[in-house]
């Protein structure tokens, strides 16, 4: 288990870390299976918490991605264009999706790890 201190989670299975990087959880990547395509936002776009910011597609299904917090897109993980499987192999590390700046938590519904694990396990 990677060190997830500083990470917060959403009920829709995204995470945001202390450096305002955003990704999807290990549970989410397991449910999706082999990720083969990501549609990520343009750098500079401003998102509000809960806004749809992209699509993640696996062989099984395409799913919308939702911003765990608001902010401006400072960077997207370009390495995923050629290697989207990093989301499966390292969802909390190399499989990060984007980094935000000017973060705005208004309207954000964030969970700590313990609360998120309850959501993911269905209890």
């Amino acid at each position: 288990m990677p060190d997830l201190s500083g990470f917060r989670f959403t009920a829709s299975h995204e995470w945001v870390d202390g450096g305002s990087r955003v990704g999807i959880t290990d549970y989410a990547q397991q449910q999706l299976g082999d990720v083969i395509f990501l549609e990520l936002p343009e750098v500079g776009r401003t998102l509000s918490a809960g806004e749809r910011f992209g699509v993640i597609e696996s062989v099984k299904a395409a799913s919308d991605l939702y911003a765990p917090v608001g902010g401006r897109v400072a960077e997207v993980n370009d390495a995923l264009v050629d290697a989207p499987e990093k989301v499966n192999s390292d969802p909390y590390g190399e499989g990060w999706l984007m980094r935000l700046e000017e973060v705005d938590e208004a309207g954000a519904e964030l969970l700590d790890l313990e609360a998120y694990e309850k959501v993911a396990s269905g209890h």
């Binding site: 083969i36 395509f37 597609e57 062989v59 099984k60």
Partner: protein, 365 residues
């Protein structure tokens, strides 16, 4: 509650993700689809397909009874051979696609799990006098071993049938496999690779599965779920009932004109199919190679110069080719050499028409 195959407990013990498919709890994947897919293309994979239905037609002249139900011609194969076919209604719509095994005293028909009840009702209602029908699905397990090393995994466990000597679509019955008697061993599959399918009495299926899994260790064979089965069959250009066709689709429109033999004795749907062939089918079936990685999925519109000209029937990501692939039902007046697009969630993705199959196995395996 969904039904379970005789191998359910083994799938759970192997850590498979289970999903409901056609009323059964089936493994969709054990490890991940890419590894399972690649194992079948390069080495071997083992599948539990016990959800599939097996219908036995016996009694007086079972071949004639089956001939009346199917569009293909059993007279073109001998005993001990299997044949892919469609079964159509009076309008020429496909009720199901089937594999018929021509035996000595009976024929076996392998049907899709999702169509089993419909098929059995239809077959009973249209059975020739003197023929008998037995739905053996619940008492029969089906295990497939597929891949270039499949025969080398299976053959040493089998006595009574020369597995390595079986030609494609040939089969043998009365085999003993890992101590289990009465197994039907068939050189068939749904992956585009060489392979073997084994029909086993359901209560003994676990014993055969365990022995095959153990024998497969030497070639790093993987258990494979329905996810890899779908990516493999689509690369091989094989149809999936319910996605690529249904009762509103005739075999010509589904690209299955080659299984319609209008020169054989009368069969159900022959009149309608003759008319469709003479007048031209309303649709044609096309392979699409996508320019990007986004997946064209069932039902998405296919466009030519901004006008919708068809729909995607099946789509996936091809692990072998490294791009999206799809099949589509197109208006038959769409030329085969024009560039198309697929509307994927509002974004247009370029699609090139390509011949099926997308993948053909090297001829030396």
């Amino acid at each position: 509650m969904a039904q379970r195959t005789p191998l359910y407990d083994r799938h759970v013990a192997l850590g498979a993700s289970m999903v409901e498919f056609a009323g059964y709890d089936m493994p969709i994947q054990y490890s991940n689809m890419r590894d399972e897919h690649t194992a079948v293309r390069q080495r071997a994979g083992i599948f539990d397909l016990s959800h599939m239905g097996e219908v036995r037609i016996g009694g007086a002249d079972p071949v004639a009874a089956v001939q009346r139900l199917i569009t293909n011609d059993l007279d073109r194969i001998g005993e001990g051979r299997a044949q892919y076919t469609a079964m159509c209604n009076d309008d020429g719509g496909i009720i199901d696609d089937l594999v018929v095994y021509r035996g000595v005293a009976e024929c076996w028909i392998v049907v899709n799990a999702s169509r089993r009840a419909v098929d059995v009702d239809w077959m009973r209602a249209h059975l020739r006098d003197g023929a008998t029908l037995h739905d053996a699905s619940d008492e029969t397990a089906l295990i497939a071993v597929q891949g270039p090393r499949a025969v080398s995994v299976v053959a040493p466990l089998v006595s009574g049938v020369d597995v390595a000597g079986l030609r494609p679509f040939a089969y043998g019955w009365g085999a003993t496999v890992a101590g289990v008697e009465g197994v039907v061993v068939s050189r068939t599959g749904y992956t585009g690779e060489d392979g073997v399918e084994l029909y086993v009495d359901a209560p003994r299926a676990g014993q055969v599965w365990d022995a095959l899994l153990e024998a497969g260790r030497s070639v790093d064979m993987l258990p494979c779920g329905l996810g890899a089965r779908d990516t493999l069959r689509l690369e091989a250009g094989l149809r999936l009932y319910g996605q690529d066709m249904d009762e509103s689709v005739d075999p010509f429109s589904a690209g299955l004109g080659w299984v319609v033999k209008l020169d054989k004795d009368d069969f159900i749907g022959a009149g309608a199919l003759r008319a469709i062939k003479e007048n031209g089918a309303p649709r044609r079936f096309a392979g699409l190679r996508m320019s990007g990685r986004a997946i064209a999925r069932h039902g998405m519109p296919v466009l030519h110069e901004d006008a919708q000209v068809g729909e995607v029937t099946s789509g996936t990501y091809s692990f072998t080719l490294g791009c999206g692939i799809a099949t589509a039902s197109l208006r038959s007046d769409v030329p085969g050499d024009v560039a198309l697009q697929v509307d994927i969630r509002g974004t247009r993705a370029d699609a090139e028409q390509v011949p099926l199959p997308f993948y053909k196995r090297p001829s030396n395996t």
